[in-house]
């Protein structure tokens, strides 16, 4: 007597070749796809996103992604503020006010366990209570061993294993243990899904490894299946558990692994499959092979989405691929919202306080100096028609205000891109994406759009 929590409705007039816009109903919230879901990682970003939602009511920004390690500083501060400022009168008010997510937006909580492989965020994962104890225990051991090896390397000892090899072997060993040990596996799945449920995620995302080898692909498939089997026992309202694959870009070159993924995806019972290609920039000249593999992957997904009932796909951390992926087969596309990517590894003193700004024509980020130059060349008018830019024609000197505008502008630009895609599909103009990319700095991405 229960209906699936995820339903896909197709419309013949919103379809053109390999592209399609559908209505994706998740947990009684309807998304008109493609939807851009910004990945929020702090309270400030959450506020910016909520402001844009409340002020401009953007239809294509009806979902957002929060990484599990960011839930503490992104979703819960809103709860704290409400708790101190409001007198709670009854249980209904309590439930309403304490919900971490305001409004009718779809929330995806990404376990982001690729940080068991990449050094960034490892320290944060060790200290966050939102991550499973199994993970924290592994990371503590890993960091200890890593420090010991580093010391040995500095002391010039012979036969010290290389850093990359060490990370690879530790990572694979950990996931092999998870694969073999039922106790460890169930604990990891339960802890992760429970935190997602507490954060009121609309779709559950299983904890899966970063796929670096065929063995880890098997582990990822296994974890997806086990999480789907266990999820009804954890969630009261039988929330849907998505399939999730985190891939290294080099996997795109491995035809066998890609065909295993495609086969699994087309046969899986889960209505939503999410992908994340870590640090993938297909606009890079040297990635011609990856581009061709990605194109065939998009074609395959689009066929599955058209022909298998109730099937949708999402791409997390899409980066430069956001627009072509949204145009091709992904119902949800998500990417970071911090606008300062290249500043991540710099010394805090050298970090530019002014965020980068999205250039909707070039479809890339530009720093403040380039932006000022562009405005100067455009007759001192900001070359953008988004509501934020038209309402604020002067460029603020204060970096807080500048960054606020840059973030709101970014969201509205992405909203505009999604609307353009839907319009093009309704008018059957499949050339629109090619023309738009041709005018931008992402010309190489033309090769990845199926035609």
């Amino acid at each position: 007597m229960n209906k699936s929590q995820v339903q896909v409705t197709h419309y013949p007039h919103r379809k053109c070749k390999f592209s399609e816009s559908v209505d994706l109903k998740i947990n009684n919230k309807t998304l008109v796809t493609p939807t851009f879901a910004p990945r929020l990682k702090s309270d400030g970003e959450m506020n910016r996103y909520s402001t844009v939602r409340n002020t401009y009511s953007p239809r294509q920004l009806s979902a957002y992604v929060v990484r599990l390690l960011d839930t503490g500083r992104t979703l819960y501060p809103t709860m704290k503020k409400t708790a101190t400022s409001k007198l709670i009168v009854d249980q209904t008010t309590l439930d309403k006010k304490f919900a971490p997510q305001p409004g009718k937006k779809v929330l995806l909580v990404d376990p982001a366990l690729e940080y068991l492989y990449y050094a960034t965020n490892m320290e944060r994962l060790v200290n966050t209570p939102f991550v499973s104890r199994t993970i924290r225990k592994y990371l503590r051991n890993f960091l200890e061993k890593s420090k010991k090896l580093e010391n040995e390397r500095n002391e010039g000892k012979k036969k010290v294993i290389s850093k990359r090899l060490f990370v690879d072997s530790e990572h694979t060993n950990f996931w092999t243990c998870v694969y073999k040990d039922a106790n460890m596996r169930i604990r990891l799945i339960r802890d992760t899904l429970t935190v997602e449920l507490k954060a009121k995620a609309d779709v559950l995302i299983p904890p899966v490894p970063l796929i670096t080898s065929p063995h880890l692909l098997d582990v990822a498939i296994f974890m997806n299946e086990k999480s789907r089997a266990l999820s009804p026992a954890l969630s009261e309202d039988k929330r849907v558990c998505a399939d999730y694959f985190i891939l290294k870009p080099k996997v795109l070159r491995n035809q066998r692994m890609m065909s295993t993924i495609k086969e699994y995806v087309s046969n899986s019972e889960s209505p939503l499959t999410l992908f994340k290609f870590k640090n993938l920039n297909l606009n890079d000249e040297n990635l011609a092979l990856e581009r061709s593999a990605f194109k065939s992957f998009l074609m395959e997904l689009s066929l599955v989405a058209h022909h298998v009932e109730n099937k949708a796909f999402g791409l997390l951390e899409a980066g430069n691929q956001t627009f072509p992926a949204a145009f091709s087969s992904f119902a949800i596309v998500s990417t970071g919202f911090n606008l300062d990517r290249e500043d991540r590894r710099k010394d805090p003193k050298d970090i530019n306080p002014f965020a980068n700004r999205y250039d909707p024509v070039n479809m890339t980020m530009q720093n403040k100096d380039t932006f000022l130059q562009t405005v100067e060349n455009n007759g001192k008018v900001i070359p953008c028609n988004c509501k934020v830019c038209t309402e604020n024609p002067t460029i603020p000197n204060n970096f807080i205000e500048y960054n606020r505008q840059a973030k709101e502008h970014y969201l509205l630009c992405r909203e505009q891109e999604m609307i353009e895609i839907i319009d093009a599909l309704e008018k059957q103009e499949s050339q629109m994406a090619f023309e738009k990319l041709q005018r931008s700095s992402l010309k190489n991405l033309i090769d990845i759009i199926p035609r």
Partner: protein, 165 residues
């Protein structure tokens, strides 16, 4: 005859690791799934063979599903065959009547033995979670008789029971 089971089920070791509440929910959900995947009915032994679950556990959950009318059984020889309790005749054939912390859900169901009105009692606990407490099935053709009987009883006992309107 082979029984249809979900493509992925947890292994007995994994089920053992679950907390008692989760285990109960998982096993009940799994058995309900198996019943709905086998419209021609299944026997306890078939579920045991397909899932490697303990026979006593499977029987307990099957009997619970029968008690709350989510399933029904027919005795055949020494064993019983269990069936899922029909499907909605029409998606709109349902009504929810909340009374206090209880909700009475009315469904019109169809199964191998005909059309039924299924009344299910759900109770909300302090955590606002709804659990099925019980249910009754009345044949559609007997519905008017049932209504008359209920009405007669209310009139008969009106002096002793307080009827809230």
């Amino acid at each position: 005859m082979e029984v249809n089971v979900p493509s992925v089920v947890l292994s007995p070791e994994e089920v053992q690791v679950l907390r008692p509440v989760e285990r109960e929910k998982y096993v009940r959900g799994l058995i309900k799934n198996i019943l709905s995947m086998n419209e021609n009915g299944v026997m306890t032994s078939e579920i045991v063979d397909a899932t490697n679950l303990n026979r006593i556990t499977v029987t307990k959950h099957l009997e619970h599903l029968v008690a709350i009318r989510e399933a029904y059984k027919s005795d055949r020889g020494t064993g019983s065959i269990y069936y899922i309790n029909g499907r909605l005749v029409h998606p709109t054939d349902r009504l929810s009547v909340p009374i206090g912390n209880k909700t009475y859900d009315f469904f019109k169901l169809e199964n191998a033995e005909g059309n039924f009105v299924f009344i299910q009692e759900k109770e909300q606990d302090e955590l606002r979670l709804k659990t099925v407490k019980g249910g009754i099935m009345i044949r559609c053709q007997d519905m008017l008789k049932f209504k008359d009987g209920l009405h007669k009883f209310i009139t008969l006992a009106s002096n002793r029971i307080e009827v809230r309107t």
